[in-house]
């Protein structure tokens, strides 16, 4: 009983129109739950609902019926017996007549017919009776939007799933559907409506049957919707896109052939309309409809479609793109146009469907005939009139499509048009054989029009050949016999003589033509081998001789590349042989010859492009290149040109060839060999004059070395490092074995340039090593590196940083006892005493430790008074620090403390006694900012991403979020130091260092601290404007500020500091040294104008005055931003107060 009252309450709450929707849903859910848990039967519910369902109060009645319907919708997984379903169907069907309760009736019917057979389904007769009732009672178009949608859903479902039972309704059904759809406007309903028509067509497929007699009426309803055009922008509430709707309408159009008499004329008519979308839609619909209606029905329209297709192509086909930048391998490249694409695919569809008819149309077409007949007159591209050019392009495309679509069409086109053109130009089929050997065409003037159409034809049939298996077709025979003529014709376009250099389109035609000829598949269509070789010879002669013609040269190289990759890809052995002997070998020969005039940079470019055609070619070329590099290296000291050559070759090797090899895999042994050979060479160089005197060559060698070592496996790296070490120890004066035992003496080595060169090369090997690679005599190397970095050799410092970054740490457990651990290495670096002999150092620090030795960190703090030594030490330490920072080692804290000490050292100095502690020296030190500036740079080194070393490419150990960590540990220290610093200099140094840190930290961390950082950041900005050299870091920092302004997290802090930010930015809007700074500053001001008006209004005048000047900035981009900024700030207040 309790349950019953509960149920009543739920029902009451649902039916009561005054309760809120959420209440209603809750009570509905409660009822459903009762049924699902078997606490309530459906019968009991219906009995309980009785008075609601039959009440005379329309409101209560409609809610009651809806409740029952909704419950049914939600229990669609609970099985019901057929009797219940039948009686429910009876009930809801009856209710359709009750227009006030129609929503419930519709929802109920939908819920019932959607039931699956396993849980009890509606029978066929029930479905039919629902349909009948629907047709009899419902006036769909008089209902509201949601009810209409329900109606369409119901109809759609009935037509999809109860076809057999409702088919017998025949005329009534068609009439009813027509009536329902008529004048529907909602996109979602239309989607369903179009689908209903499609299903209807499936229901009565007989082309002379029932639907045929109503086709006119049905189509009259659909016709107005074409082309689909949304007058209102699609807003959030409709999810239907224009394209979806258009596609559904298309399938409705194409659903039955009986629409054909109405559809095709309509589409043809709309095709001639000026509306762009109508054109595209018509072409699409035509294509789909013609494939659905069948060839027979379309045949009578083909003529009309053809002529409008031709017109469309004339109008919409743009100028062809005669450039090789994209280099598609099929046909001529045209700017993308949707209309053209659709038109051509329609043409293709028509040819597929009815080849003979279309081809005869094309061949007999008067425009096509006009072009082919007057082909002899189109000699130069530029002399053809605009109108005829358009025709030529369009017909070219048409020929391309007809050649590529089917074999018969291709045959026909070749037989008639191609031979006709040949005739016009004087090569009749009979004398073709006579032309085989002679270059008769070459003596004639070049004919652009003919060659243009040939290219389209050839590329079309090339595509056909790929797809078809037929070997000897008519077109093949024709092509085969005329290939020599074509070769001569294309070749003669490219002939460069003193009085004639080919124009751009001519070059394109010539190169493209030859390329297509060369790229026919051998097994399907044999171009004679001699022709293929002739093509390659022709191209190579252009490569060697015509380098003055940049366009021609580049195009030829591209074409050679395409041919080469094609030959490799389809493994055509015979052609590949020819290619190797005529192209690859030739190119390699070229490299060693000095007498040909081709500039060296072009040689290298050609080398690279040809190499890219395949791994085999690449290896051949690499070998040749290596030979050339070493020949040149050995001559470097005697010959200036071979020095430049070596640099270029090395650049090409490291920047182009190696990345390609890496991408394509394999060939590691070759790379190792290369690195080892360089070391051999470096060793040999020792015996002669040094090749290292020039920086450029050394840099190129280092880079090549780094990249080659970097991409090798551990084993290969071990080989390389052994070789390198033996060279280092045997060919230089460094005493690597002794260096560990004695205290370091800076003056001991006076490094000769030769030694330095080898050392640098060695450092670049170390930089690129993987963590697992074994480094020989690591202690000795550490000592050597420390000494040399004090001499200011930066790569050595980078190598040291890389070593520390990759060493295994003690905590991780180094297995082998002979391996040096990170801790030991650090101990060596920071505790090794460095000895200074008095003749080397002007000042000797006599510290508390015994005698005259100090350690690296003391040097950084400037305990000796040698400023150069101090900056070198700081620079070295910064790279060491970077290595540690990346792996997240604790020692970095001590290192950064040293740097900060340097920054504020004028304060510290007073407390530290100097050796010869005269006042004079102290003064000198205070004024000398060089070393301290180095300390600010050290922060840049620590935070920035290095290109040369310590990155992923060189296998650095990088701890996630290391920047974030470093920033959060440094920020409080810096903030405190800055606020406490009393001297101007150290404050500016601190700000500069902090600027480096901030600009390289990820924005997200900065945002969290925005409040504290903004004042400091603005100080930094202001300080950086003073020196022109700081413009890049200034820009970096400004980007951080602009990030804060645009991110939500930063907003709050920005609002608080709006005044000072705006004042700071105003100072930057006329920063003279960098345009980007001005531009960004103004953009920041625009962003600031979005802040609450109360905060920014007082500054409005000030900003406007500053921006006013920017309107006359020297740079356009700044002026543009200024206009926007002015508009934004002026419209803060009422726009009427805008002053001019």
């Amino acid at each position: 009983m309790a349950e019953t009252t509960q149920l009543t309450r739920h029902i009451e709450s649902y039916v009561d129109s005054s309760s809120t929707p959420s209440h209603q849903v809750a009570s509905l859910d409660a009822i459903v739950l009762l049924i699902k848990t078997n606490a309530l039967t459906l019968e009991a519910l219906v009995r309980e609902l009785d008075m609601y369902l039959t009440s005379t109060d329309t409101l209560i009645r409609s809610r009651g019926i809806l409740l029952l319907a909704e419950v049914l919708t939600r229990i669609n997984s609970i099985s019901l017996d057929s009797k219940t379903i039948h009686s429910l169907v009876g009930f809801f069907k009856e209710r359709m007549a009750d227009w006030k309760a129609v929503r419930g009736a519709l929802v109920g019917c939908l819920a019932l017919i959607r039931r699956k057979s396993v849980v009890g389904m509606v029978t066929g007769s029930d479905a039919k009776s629902i349909t009948q009732s629907f047709l009899q009672h419902l006036q769909v178009q008089s209902l509201g939007l949601y009810d209409r949608k329900l109606c369409f859903e119901l109809l759609d479902y009935l037509l999809e799933h109860h076809v057999d039972s409702i088919a017998s309704l025949e005329e009534d059904l068609i009439f009813g559907i027509c009536e329902a759809i008529d004048a529907e406007k909602d996109p979602e309903c239309l989607m369903l409506a179009f689908h209903i028509v499609e299903s209807l067509a499936r229901l009565y497929p007989d082309p002379s049957g029932l639907l045929a007699s109503f086709a006119r009426d049905v189509f009259d309803l659909l016709e107005p919707y074409f082309p689909i055009h949304f007058t209102h922008q699609t807003s959030g509430d409709t999810h239907v896109q224009r394209d979806d709707l258009s596609r559904t309408l298309m399938s409705a159009f194409a659903s039955t052939p009986v629409f054909e008499p109405f559809v095709i004329p309509l589409l043809l008519q709309k095709l001639s309309s000026s509306l762009h979308s109508a054109k595209i839609d018509s072409l699409q619909y035509l294509r789909v409809c013609s494939s659905k209606y069948g060839a027979e029905r379309i045949a009578k329209y083909t003529g009309a479609i053809w002529s409008s297709l031709k017109d469309t192509l004339y109008t919409y086909l743009g100028e062809p793109d005669f450039s090789f930048t994209l280099a598609p391998t099929d046909g001529i490249n045209f700017p993308k146009s949707e209309v053209v694409v659709e038109a051509l695919s329609l043409l293709q569809q028509l040819i597929v469907q009815n080849s003979s008819q279309l081809v005869s149309l094309i061949i007999d077409d008067e425009d096509v005939n006009f072009i082919t007949n007057s082909i002899a007159s189109y000699e130069m591209y530029d002399t053809i009139s605009v109108q005829e050019k358009k025709k030529l392009h369009a017909i070219g495309r048409i020929l391309y499509i007809s050649a590529k679509t089917s074999i018969p069409s291709c045959n026909a086109v070749f037989q008639s048009l191609f031979l006709r053109m040949m005739d016009k130009l004087g090569f009749s089929a009979s004398n073709i054989d006579g032309l085989q050997n002679g270059g008769i065409l070459a003596s004639q003037s070049v004919n652009f029009g003919f060659l243009y159409l040939c290219i389209e034809l050839l590329s079309g049939c090339r595509e056909l050949v790929i797809l078809s298996d037929e070997k000897r077709e008519t077109y093949c025979t024709i092509l085969h016999s005329s290939s020599a003529v074509l070769f001569n014709a294309f070749g003669s376009v490219l002939a460069v003589t003193a009085d004639r250099c080919p124009s751009h389109p001519d070059i394109y035609i010539g190169v493209k033509g030859l390329q297509i000829l060369a790229m026919f598949h051998l097994d399907v269509f044999p171009i004679p081998k001699s022709t293929f070789e002739n093509i390659l010879k022709k191209f190579m002669s252009i490569i060697i001789e015509d380098f003055g013609q940049t366009v021609l040269w580049n195009a030829t190289l591209k074409a050679l590349f395409h041919i080469g990759s094609f030959v490799q890809k389809f493994s055509e052995s015979e052609k590949a042989m020819s290619y190797r002997s005529f192209v690859v070998d030739k190119i390699m020969e070229m490299l060693s010859l000095d007498d040909i005039a081709l500039p060296f940079s072009l040689k290298v470019e050609a080398l690279y492009d040809i190499g890219m055609t395949g791994m085999k070619n690449m290896l051949t070329i690499l070998q040749a290149m290596e030979g050339a590099i070493f020949t040149n290296l050995s001559e470097v000291h005697s010959n200036l040109t071979s020095h430049e050559t070596a640099v270029q070759l090395l650049e090409c090797y490291s920047c182009k060839l190696l990345p390609w090899i890496l991408k394509n895999g394999g060939a590691e042994e070759f790379v190792v060999q290369f690195a080892v050979d360089i070391w051999n060479q470096a060793g040999n160089c020792m015996d002669f004059n040094s090749p290292f005197e020039d920086k450029g060559l050394l840099d190129a060698m280092m880079k090549a070395m780094k990249v080659s070592v970097g991409c090798c496996s551990v084993e290969s790296q071990n080989v390389t490092i052994q070789k390198a070490y033996s060279t280092l120890s045997s060919h230089t004066k460094f005493q690597l074995n002794d260096v560990g035992r004695l205290p370091l003496t800076s003056g001991k080595y006076d490094i000769s340039p030769r030694d330095e060169g080898i050392l640098l090369l060695f450092a670049s090997v170390i930089i690129a090593l993987r963590p697992k690679t074994h480094i020989p005599n690591i202690r000795g190397l550490l000592h050597l590196f420390i000494i040399t970095l004090l001499k200011g050799v930066v790569p050595v410092a980078q190598a040291l940083g890389s070593m520390l970054n990759k060493l295994t740490s003690k905590s991780n457990g180094a297995e082998k006892s002979d391996e040096l651990t990170l801790e030991e290495a650090l101990d060596i670096i920071f505790n090794t005493k460095i000895w200074f002999s008095s003749n080397n150092m002007l000042q000797i620090y006599n510290g508390s430790s015994n005698g005259s030795d100090i350690v690296l960190t003391d040097l950084c703090l400037g305990i000796t008074n040698d400023r150069l030594l101090q900056s070198n030490a700081i620079c070295g330490l910064s790279w060491i620090g970077k290595g540690l920072l990346l792996r997240g080692h604790e020692k970095i804290k001590d290192i950064t403390m040293i740097f900060t000490e340097c920054l504020i050292s004028d304060r510290r100095k007073t407390s530290v006694p100097l050796v010869e502690g005269s006042l004079e020296n102290t003064e000198k030190q205070k004024c000398d900012p060089l070393a301290r500036k180095c300390a600010t740079e050290a922060f840049h080194v620590l935070m920035s991403d290095a290109e040369d070393c310590l990155n992923r490419k060189f296998h650095a150990t990088v701890r996630p979020l290391y920047k974030q960590r470093f920033f959060s540990s440094m920020m409080p220290i810096f903030l405190q130091l800055i606020s406490r610093s009393d001297s101007l200099l150290s404050r500016s140094l601190l700000l500069r260092a902090f600027a480096h840190v901030m600009s390289d930290t990820p924005l997200i961390v900065i945002l969290n601290e925005a409040k504290k950082l903004i004042p400091v950041l603005l100080d930094c900005l202001f300080m950086l404007t003073e020196d022109i050299q700081d413009k890049d870091i200034l820009y970096g920092l400004l980007l951080v500020l602009s990030g804060m302004l645009t991110e939500k997290n930063g907003q709050e802090a920005v609002i608080e500091n709006a005044h000072i930010i705006i004042n700071g930015l105003i100072k930057l809007v006329d920063y003279p040294h960098k345009t980007l700074v001005r531009e960004t500053a103004i953009q920041c001001l625009v962003a600031l104008s979005e802040l609450p008006h109360v905060r920014i209004y007082p500054l409005r005048t000030q900003v406007l005055q500053a921006i006013f000047k920017c309107l006359d900035d020297t740079k356009r981009s700044v002026r543009n931003e200024a206009v926007k900024c002015r508009q934004a700030w002026a419209s803060i207040a009422s726009s009427r107060s805008l002053r001019f």
């Binding site: 960098k1074 345009t1075 309107l1111 006359d1112 020297t1114 356009r1116 002026r1119 508009q1127 001019f1140």
Partner: protein, 168 residues
């Protein structure tokens, strides 16, 4: 305001392919001066073309921008950065276009807001394109009358409405 369209059947011209300026200047020319030129002025006035809902062309029946209607073309902008002078000539679509003055006023206000104050702006109707050409020209270039027009709240609102969505 006039109800209905003033020009029911405008002639549509093809939109000209706009040449892209090479935007990225090298760091080397950090200090070179880029003078204000024809294209820049045209870009400033480009708001008209991006914004097809202009004044009473609000009916989607006319989904054309003023560029397609050839009201202003790039060639119709004359500019001399040295002499700080700019002249814009525009062509109303029909001879009796009552919109001529309001289009002209919008052009003027836009230029005044966007150019440095040293510029003298001259707005003209193309010769022979408007029935009361002389009167319109005089009205558009009369400082007093322009100032007075901008005192009129209705006019200012209308001008602002035209100019407002120009930054997208």
């Amino acid at each position: 305001m006039v109800s209905g369209l003033i020009n029911e059947n405008p002639v549509i011209y093809e939109r000209k392919q706009r040449q892209q300026r090479s935007t990225q200047s090298l760091p080397a020319d950090e200090y070179t001066v880029e003078p204000i030129d024809q294209q820049e002025i045209f870009d400033i006035l480009f708001f008209f073309f991006l914004n097809s809902i202009f004044l009473d062309i609000k009916d989607p029946e006319h989904p054309y921008s003023l560029e397609e209607l050839k009201v202003i073309t790039e060639e119709a902008v004359e500019v001399d950065d040295q002499k700080s002078y700019v002249r814009v000539t525009f062509t109303p679509t029909v001879e009796h276009c009552s919109m001529a003055t309001i289009i002209g006023l919008c052009l003027r206000v836009k230029l005044l807001r966007s150019l440095p104050p040293r510029y003298k702006v001259d707005i003209r109707v193309a010769p022979g394109s408007h029935a009361t050409e002389a009167a319109v020209n005089k009205q558009l270039n009369d400082k007093e009358r322009v100032a007075a027009a901008l005192e009129n709240p209705n006019l200012v609102d209308m001008v602002d409405e035209c100019l407002a969505p120009s930054f997208d």
